[in-house]
């Protein structure tokens, strides 16, 4: 951590804030920054541990709760009904009058249509269902909804991305717009595109959500993470998806 801290400080001191967004043609998935061995692990379903969660999610999709339909009971074959769904979230929810992410959408379905308690954030069934639904969009381009009601939230997310935070006073943009391709504590700095969530992160030795990853970033710059599903986090997710619009979904991705 001392090494990370000093490196991060050097980074701040040595490099000017360019504040330029990455051009569409220069965008690269985190996949491109990995070693061939890690890339193989993602590409080959038998090597990709994330597929174990997809398998579990597939079973949950069919599982019937007491006196309530299964996911499949309403949505049928996920291969058709969920194709492209993960590429469109976060999306605006009429009832809550704000954007919600895919995990929140799953939990709303549970409480409203299945009369079941919401899954805990980062719980295994929630990750499994997200991975299963996400995998139905593998290879499809990220396609944020064209919805005017999202505009102010998108702008909040953009501001969040560019605001220096934490004891190190670093913004997301300083690492991921201005210094991608550089290195931090020996690891390459990627562009931070949310193409593969939930991801199997080798560091975690398990599958985790985009919010878990964002919390790691915040901790890295010595900032206090927001609560799970805090509006600020969902707005940041919204901006990240907009920033990655057109890039292909890789769920479940593998990352170091």
């Amino acid at each position: 951590m001392i090494r990370l801290l000093s490196l991060a400080c050097c980074l701040v001191a040595a490099l000017p804030v360019l504040a330029a967004e990455i051009k569409t043609r220069d965008r690269r998935s985190g996949f491109d920054f990995m070693t061939p061995s890690s890339q193989d692990m993602q590409r080959d379903d038998m090597l990709n541990p994330g597929m174990l969660w997809v398998l579990e999610g597939e079973a949950l999709w069919q599982q019937q709760a007491a006196n309530a339909p299964s996911c499949a009971g309403c949505h049928g074959d996920a291969k058709d009904s969920m194709r492209g769904a993960a590429a469109r979230y976060p999306a605006f929810n009429d009832r809550l009058n704000r954007p919600i992410n895919l995990q929140q959408r799953i939990n709303l379905c549970r409480s409203e249509n299945q009369q079941q308690p919401a899954f805990e954030p980062e719980s295994r069934p929630l990750l499994a269902l997200s991975a299963f639904i996400g995998a139905q969009s593998r290879g499809l381009p990220i396609a944020p909804p064209e919805d005017a009601r999202l505009a102010p939230h998108l702008e909040n997310g953009r501001q969040f991305f560019k605001t220096p935070m934490g004891q190190l006073g670093l913004s997301c943009a300083q690492c991921h717009d201005d210094n991608w391709g550089g290195r931090l504590a020996g690891a390459p700095i990627p562009q931070a595109h949310p193409t593969g969530y939930p991801i199997y992160r080798l560091e975690w030795q398990t599958l985790g959500s985009l919010q878990r990853r964002l919390r790691n970033c915040l901790t890295g710059i010595r900032a206090e993470p927001f609560d799970w599903d805090a509006p600020e986090m969902v707005e940041l997710e919204l901006y990240l998806m907009k920033r990655a619009a057109g890039m292909n979904i890789e769920t479940p991705a593998v990352r170091p």
Partner: protein, 106 residues
Amino acid sequence: MNLARLSFPKTAKKGEIIEIRTLISHVMETGYRPDATGKVVPRDIIRRFTCHYDGEEVFRADLWQAIAANPYLSFTTVATKSGELTFTWEGDNGFRHVESGTITVT
């Protein structure tokens, strides 16, 4: 619960060497890591994996804490006759999981 994924050819020629690949959900807790309170989390690993071909053991692995979480294994066997391949993972806390599949040998 769907815990494991298997991969091997459904059909093979007699005498052909086939590759078998397995992946299973398991934390492989080392017993060396402290939790958030500083208390060491007890060891919880898969200690043994076996593959039986029509009841006869054709591969066995003894595993320790240094095997990565969600263990992956690939190995080979000779396709001798049509039959059942059975895979068994056994470990700490009474963990035992069995999967099987059939192979047709021509």
